[in-house]
C-alpha cells in the first residue's frame, strides 16, 4: 500500500463515458468521430458493455422524424405530451437530427424492418398524432451489441465491469474523471479525463418486476456540484409480477380493458375522453385511486381480445422476451388472458442532470446523456431511446469541442486517497451481508402507491421521517465482499434519490405528467411551468424554481 493509503490502477483518457446504454454508446461513437486523430475515448460500464442496461433489455423502439414528416408538429406534440416539462430547443434538435442518427446506426450494421414497398416500418405511438416510432431488428440486444462492435472498431477503449463510485475534481472546480471498483475483483481504479459524460440511466429502486438495474451516476454528479431536475416525475406503468409484458397499448387497441374487483371498466370514470387509451401515468393514477377506494385487485382483462389475434402477444422480435413467453407457455396463455392482478408501478425516477442544449452540465468538464440527462419527463414508447440517441450525440460532440479549452486532467494524490477510503469504507471481511433485508424494507416503503404515485403533503412529510430511520440503519451496513460493496453503493444512491424525490414532490404544489398530488389535483401553469432544480449545499439538498422557456410552444397554444 502506498504511503498516501491508496492502492489501485490509474488510467488516463481524454473523454470518459460512464454507462453503456443507448446514451453512452452513442456518446462514445459521436465523440470518437468528432475528435481529432489520436483522441482517446473510453467507455466504462458496471457490467459487460453491449450486453447490459435497460437499452439491451428493451425493444429499442425509437422516434425517428423522416424528411417528409412534419418536424414542427411532432416537436409540439411531444412537448405537450410532456406537459411542457421539456427543454424545447433540445427536443427539437433531437428530433431534427434523428434521421441522420438512423443513417449512422445503419452504417454500423443495425437493420430496421421495412414494408413491402421498401419504406421503413413505422408505427404511431400512444396518444400522439404525427410522431412515428421504429425498432431495429433484434431489438435492444442487437442495438446495444452492434453499437458496441461499432465503437470497438473505431478505437474506443472499452472497459467492462468498472463500477464508478465517485467523480474527481482535482484541486479545482471542474470534473477530472472518476474512481470506482472493478465490479468483480474489487480492485480500485481512477480514470482521469478532460471530459466526463454521465450516461448511467436514471435511478431506480429496483422495483420493476424484471431486469431491475439501477444507475448511480446522477447522484455522483450531484455530489460533484451538478444541478439535477425532474426528481418529482417518474416512469409509471401498469405491470404484473406474473410475467413481463410490454404490449398494453396494443392489447387495449384490440379490446382489452382495465377492470376492478367488481369487473367494472373504471378508466372511463377517471379519463372520460381517453378511457383505457389514456397515457400510462394517467392509468397509474386511476389505479391508485381505485385502490384508495378499496376496489382492488385490479386486472387487465384481455379476455375480450379476439382469439384469432392472441398469438400476436406471444411473439416478440426481442430474443429474451420471446424466451420469456415460450417458457411460460400455457401458463402465460392462461394468465395473460385470465385474471392476472395488475399494479401501477413506479419503475424509475425521471431525475437527471440539468444541462444546456448541448448537454453540458453546470460543472465544467461534466456532460450528461441518455436518461441521466433531464431533457424531458415523459419518455413514452420510442422517446426513451430517441432522447438517448440525440443527447448522446450532442454530449459527445460538446465534449470534443471543449477539449480545445479543457486542460489535461491530473490525478491528485490527496483526492485519490480520500476517494479510495470513502469507496472502501463499508468493507469489513468479518461482517455479514445484510443489505438485502434493508433494501426490501426500503423498497416496500418507497413503492407504496400513496407515496410513489398518489402523493400528499402529509404523506411525503411522514415519508421523510421514515427515510431518516432507514438512512440511520443503512449507515450501519457493511460489506464482507465486493459483491455486497456494489450493492451497498447502489443502495446509497437510492437513499439520496429518495430524499430528493420526496422534497421535490413536496415543493411542486400541483399535479402534472406523472407527479400526482391528492391535495393539489390540478395543473397550475401560472405558478408551475418551471423546473425544480436541486443542488447539494454540503448539508442537504437546496431546491429552486427555474421557469421553463417556451420558444416553440406554450400551453396557451392548446386552448
Amino acid at each position: 500500500m502506498a504511503t498516501n493509503g491508496v492502492h489501485g490502477t490509474h488510467i488516463e483518457t481524454d473523454i470518459l463515458v460512464i454507462g453503456a446504454g443507448a446514451g453512452g454508446l452513442v456518446a462514445a461513437l459521436s465523440a470518437k468521430r468528432a475528435a481529432p486523430p489520436a483522441t482517446q475515448v473510453t467507455i466504462v460500464d458496471s457490467w459487460k458493455v453491449g450486453r447490459s442496461g435497460h437499452t439491451a433489455f428493451s425493444n429499442a423502439w425509437t422516434v425517428v422524424v423522416a424528411p417528409d414528416d412534419d418536424l414542427e408538429s411532432v416537436t409540439k406534440e411531444i412537448i405537450a405530451g410532456n406537459d411542457f416539462i421539456a427543454d424545447q430547443p433540445l427536443i427539437h434538435r433531437v428530433l431534427e437530427t434523428s434521421w441522420d442518427r438512423l443513417k449512422d446506426l445503419e452504417g454500423i450494421g443495425l437493420q430496421w424492418p421495412r414494408n413491402e414497398d421498401g419504406s421503413y416500418y413505422r408505427r404511431p405511438t400512444r396518444g400522439l398524432k404525427d410522431t412515428r416510432v421504429m425498432y431495429p431488428v433484434g431489438g435492444g440486444l442487437e442495438f446495444s451489441w452492434k453499437l458496441k462492435r461499432g465503437i470497438e472498431d473505431e478505437g474506443v477503449q472499452i472497459l467492462d465491469r468498472f463500477f464508478v463510485t465517485g467523480l474527481m475534481k482535482g484541486d479545482g472546480e471542474r470534473v477530472t474523471g472518476a474512481v470506482g471498483v472493478q465490479s468483480r475483483t474489487g480492485e480500485f481504479f481512477a480514470i482521469t479525463a478532460r471530459a466526463t459524460i454521465i450516461a448511467t440511466n436514471a435511478i431506480t429502486f429496483r422495483t420493476g418486476f424484471v431486469r431491475d438495474l439501477t444507475g448511480t451516476g446522477t447522484l455522483l454528479a450531484y455530489r460533484a456540484g451538478a444541478k439535477l431536475r425532474n426528481a418529482e416525475f417518474s416512469y409509471l406503468r401498469p405491470g404484473t409480477p406474473r410475467f413481463y409484458f410490454e404490449g398494453i397499448a396494443f392489447a387495449i387497441q384490440d379490446g382489452a380493458s382495465f377492470v376492478n374487483k367488481n369487473d367494472e371498466q373504471f378508466m372511463l370514470s377517471y379519463e372520460p375522453e381517453w378511457g383505457d387509451r389514456a397515457d400510462v401515468p394517467r392509468i397509474a393514477r386511476a389505479m391508485a385511486m381505485e385502490k384508495q377506494k378499496g376496489n382492488d385487485p385490479l386486472y387487465l382483462d384481455m379476455s375480450r381480445i379476439d382469439p384469432a389475434k392472441r398469438d400476436f402477444y406471444f411473439s416478440s422480435t426481442v430474443a429474451w422476451m420471446q424466451n420469456f413467453l415460450d417458457k411460460l407457455g400455457d401458463e402465460a396463455r392462461t394468465d395473460m388472458f385470465g385474471k392476472t392482478p395488475y399494479y401501477p408501478q413506479n419503475q424509475m425516477t425521471k431525475m437527471g442532470l440539468a444541462t444546456d442544449a448541448d448537454c453540458r452540465s453546470n460543472v465544467p468538464g461534466l456532460y450528461a446523456a441518455g436518461l441521466a440527462q433531464a431533457g424531458c419527463c415523459n419518455h413514452f414508447a420510442g422517446f426513451h431511446i430517441g432522447m438517448c440517441i440525440g443527447t448522446g450525440w450532442f454530449a459527445g460532440e460538446a465534449a470534443v469541442k471543449d477539449l480545445e479549452t479543457l486542460p489535461p486532467a491530473k490525478l491528485d494524490a490527496a483526492e485519490a486517497g480520500a476517494l479510495y477510503r470513502e469507496t472502501m469504507a463499508p468493507r469489513d471481511d468479518g461482517a455479514n451481508a445484510e443489505s438485502d433485508n434493508w433494501l426490501l424494507e426500503f423498497q416496500r416503503f418507497t413503492a407504496r402507491y400513496d407515496i410513489a404515485l398518489w402523493k400528499s403533503a402529509d404523506r411525503l412529510e411522514a415519508a421523510l421521517q421514515t427515510l431518516g430511520g432507514l438512512r440511520e440503519r443503512f449507515a450501519e451496513l457493511r460489506a464482507p465482499d465486493n459483491h455486497e460493496l456494489v450493492r451497498i453503493k447502489e443502495s446509497e444512491a437510492m437513499v439520496l434519490a429518495a430524499e430528493i424525490i420526496f422534497r421535490a414532490s413536496l415543493m411542486r404544489q400541483e399535479s402534472r405528467m406523472s407527479h400526482f398530488r391528492e391535495d393539489f389535483d390540478f395543473r397550475d401553469d401560472d405558478n408551475w411551468l418551471a423546473w425544480i432544480d436541486v443542488e447539494d449545499s454540503g448539508s442537504g439538498p437546496v431546491l429552486t424554481k427555474t421557469p421553463i422557456p417556451t420558444p416553440i410552444t406554450h400551453p396557451a397554444d392548446l386552448t
Binding site: 424484471v210 430474443a319 429474451w320 420469456f324 402507491y449 459483491h483
Partner: protein
Amino acid sequence: MIEAIDLDKCTGCGICDEVCPADVIYMEPVAMPDVVDGMHRAKSLPVIKYQQHCVTCFNCELFCPEGIVDVHPSVKNRPRPW
C-alpha cells in the same frame, strides 16, 4: 430467476458469467488431479453464487452456446405498491 446450469454439458466457456448484469454467476476453479506433475490442471465451471440477485434478464440462457442454462420467467421477491 436462474434455476440451474447443466454442468455435465458445460464447456467452461464463461459466457454466462461474462454476460450477467447482476454478478450472479461466477466461474470457479474445479479441483482435479494433475495428469503430469508440475502441470496444473485448470478447469472452471459456473457457480450460481447470488441467485437471489438475479434480475431475470435471460442473458445467461440466451447466450449459452450449449443451451444448458435454465432461467424461470417468474419474478420473485419484488415489492408491490400495496
